[in-house]
């Protein structure tokens, strides 16, 4: 209702501006889709041919015939899913600890976690790679999942969310004989589902799109994720003779992400609007 009310307040000029902005943002996506539906030969020399029929699904058929595409898709799903589950479990527990428990050096530890937000992945890539080499974890699912579990943003996010939940709930549960874990699992976790959904969506999307770590950790093609595999499949210099195929790869790789967006768009919008922690 509120949305309907606000929509009626928009002036024609505002609507026009919004439509224009939407078109500007959608144009590259539409362009990518149209290119992916054209025969590669038709695009050589003139990519503008994408604006007119005939269209074909030939490029998508070529992707599906690739020897390892489904293996890469499975790898991406396992890595993204595993990382998401792990991040949710660890960050929820850490958030509970920082928000609800009193223990020595709690604030210092929290600041230490926050410092992790300021350290870019590239700064630790060498020791991280060496560590995983020593543990013989390269070219394995744990090797692809474990680095993603160290998520200071997730810890911060869940801590802030749990701090906003009234402490009276804890006291009531404790009076009823609940243990710390019961309090966490039965009382607080159900209340943090919106935050879990938001963190889960962001973690899944970030892991799905990750390139750098999978590139150097999964060096055997049967362990590639979809992003690395599709990059390896590119075979033509400057992709001039396979532009449609390249765009079909881009569309194909984004389909699962698109589905995630559709399913969780409410949580993503809430997170973007900064309301997920309120």
């Amino acid at each position: 209702m509120a949305a309907d009310a606000s929509r009626t307040r928009w002036s024609p000029m505002t609507l026009l501006a919004i439509l224009l902005a939407a078109f500007v943002m959608l144009a590259p996506l539409i362009w990518t889709l149209l290119l992916s539906l054209k025969e590669n030969e038709a695009l050589i020399g003139n990519s503008g041919a994408a604006l007119s029929p005939p269209y074909t699904l030939e490029n998508y058929r070529s992707i599906l015939q690739g020897n390892q595409v489904f293996r890469w898709l499975l790898n991406s799903l396992i890595v993204s899913g595993g990382t998401t589950i792990g991040v949710l479990a660890l960050c929820s527990l850490a958030g509970f600890g920082f928000a609800r428990l009193d223990f020595p050096f709690r604030r210092t530890l929290f600041i230490f976690v926050l410092l992790g937000l300021a350290i870019p992945e590239q700064a630790v890539i060498l020791p991280q790679h060496q560590l995983f080499a020593d543990l013989r974890l390269h070219n394995s699912y744990p090797g692809l999942i474990l680095p993603g579990l160290a998520g200071p943003f997730g810890v911060f996010f869940m801590t802030q969310y749990m701090r906003a939940i009234p402490k009276e709930l804890d006291e009531a549960a404790m009076l009823d004989g609940a243990s710390r874990f019961t309090l966490f699992w039965k009382v607080l976790m159900p209340l943090t589902l919106p935050a879990q959904a938001t963190l889960g969506v962001f973690t899944f999307l970030g892991t799905w799109n990750a390139y750098w770590w999978p590139l150097i950790s999964a060096t055997r093609s049967d362990m590639y994720t979809l992003t690395v595999g599709l990059a390896a499949a590119q075979m033509n210099y400057a992709q001039t003779s396979g532009l449609g195929f390249l765009m079909a790869q881009a569309v194909f790789a984004s389909i699962p992400i698109f589905v995630v967006y559709i399913l969780f768009q409410k949580h993503i919008v809430r997170a973007m609007a900064g309301t997920a922690v309120k």
């Binding site: 060096t219 590119q234 075979m235």
Partner: protein
């Protein structure tokens, strides 16, 4: 608890080595050139496949089929694959065979990460003297060979002969190429006047290799000392200024394209929107396919030649692809299998030359079969005139990027020639100062 054990078993399985246990010598090969298993996954007749990816895939399939006591496992990496290779070497788990650009070999050889390949060549019955001068020098560092070259590639003048004819620049069915900078400018003006189209298609946006290739080629032609020693480049020279000033004048006079990146430049050439597109050997196959397709702008209107001699001697800057052998422990059977693979690569050098790259072996360059391929007789001299950068110079890829970026800015008129050369020299020398 049972689930926990199952998960632990899964972890262990995913960490385990997947080497074959059937007694065959297992060779782990890593390459670029793309993945085309859907099209050529089962192909073993190398003569029936096309393109870099198709030919290399069929070659490896054929090697496995012909050598039942050896199995080559292929790993296709995202081009060019060096971040992965470096990571594998850091993890002390490199492949047995790797495709490598010859300009990159020095980076790995200097760190002792590659094996000299003379023992493998000897085992394979291959003599280094069988290699062309261009390909042999490209893999030679300090007198040792650090790879088996399987091609030579470099810049060529790809020419639209229809437009050249329209411009009055064809003679006896061949394009008239300039023999001096002044003549090239005169040809360019005549071309533009008669066709209304640019004489030269230049990819000066995001294509550092283009500008670097031009400068390297014509510096080597003038016998200029580009690297007085492996840790110093010299670009502030009259020879370099002469080259940059010339291409700057070409661009400024409106006889060349401007603001095009590589795909745009390729599209321009394929659409018949310019006379000459200087780019690499790797584009021959694609342009030739256009030239054989009725209705295309390039139909029956394409040829290709080495860079013309504008100054000094007839020299082309070249690079190449090589198979290198990362240093690691191997069984004698694996070493013998690598040697056998080298022999196989040498025997199929003609097949690889169908990609457009020049053969690495003299016998193939001189063979009637190679010369019967389209335009190859025009390109044979490159096997003799081609020169790589000195083998001891490290970071050649990065250097090409720095030089190309500065020189392209000068070609485009965004930087004065002297400043661009000074900046390129300063940046490259700062980079080289960090090398071992």
């Amino acid at each position: 608890m049972r689930r926990l054990f199952a998960f632990a078993a899964l972890l262990a399985a995913s960490c385990s080595d997947n080497a074959g246990g059937d007694g065959r010598a297992e060779i782990y090969l890593q390459r670029f050139f793309g993945e085309c298993g859907a099209q050529y996954g089962g192909a073993t007749d190398v003569s029936k496949v096309e393109g870099e990816c198709g030919i290399i895939t069929a070659m490896i399939n054929k090697f496995n089929a012909n050598n039942p006591d050896v199995h080559v496992s292929s790993n296709v990496v995202a081009w060019p694959g060096y971040p992965q290779l470096s990571a594998q070497m850091a993890a002390k788990d490199p492949p047995d065979l790797v495709t490598m650009h010859t300009g990159v070999i020095s980076d790995y050889a200097a760190e002792g990460l590659l094996e000299p390949v003379e023992p493998y060549l000897a085992e394979a019955g291959l003599s280094p003297s069988a290699l062309t001068d261009a390909s042999r020098s490209a893999v030679t560092i300090g007198g040792r060979l650090y790879g088996l070259p399987f091609d030579t590639h470099g810049g060529l003048f790809h020419i639209n002969t229809k437009l050249f004819a329209e411009a009055g620049l064809m003679k006896g069915g061949k394009p008239v190429l300039p023999t001096s900078p002044e003549e090239m400018l005169a040809h360019a003006r005549q071309f533009k006047e008669r066709t209304g189209k640019p004489y030269l298609i230049q990819s000066l946006v995001g294509d550092n290799a283009y500008a670097a290739r031009n400068v390297y080629t014509y510096l080597l032609a003038q016998n200029a000392v580009l690297f007085p020693n492996p840790r110093q480049i010299r670009l502030q020279t009259p020879e370099a200024a002469r080259i940059v000033d010339f291409f700057r004048a070409i661009t400024a006079s409106g006889v060349s394209t401007r603001n095009q990146d590589t795909p745009a430049a390729i599209a321009s050439f394929m659409s018949g929107e310019g006379g000459i597109y200087p780019t690499g050997t790797w584009m021959i196959g694609q342009f030739e396919a256009e030239a054989n397709t009725p209705g295309r702008p390039l139909y029956q209107g394409y040829t290709v030649y080495p860079y013309p001699r504008l100054w000094g001697a007839d020299v082309s800057y070249v690079s190449g692809h090589a198979w290198v052998v990362p240093r690691r422990e191997r069984t004698p059977e694996q070493s013998r299998a690598i040697a056998r693979f080298f022999r196989f690569v040498a025997e199929h050098n003609f097949d690889w030359a169908r990609t457009g790259h020049l053969p690495a072996f003299k016998a193939v360059v001189e063979s009637p079969a190679f010369k019967a391929l389209p335009h190859r007789t025009n390109l044979v001299p490159v096997a003799r005139t081609g020169r790589p950068l000195p083998g001891g110079v490290q970071r050649q890829n990065a250097i090409e990027g720095l030089v190309g970026e500065e020189i392209a800015a000068a070609f485009n008129g965004q930087k004065p020639t002297r400043r661009a050369l000074a900046d390129a020299e300063r940046r490259v020398n700062a980079l080289l100062a960090q090398t071992d």
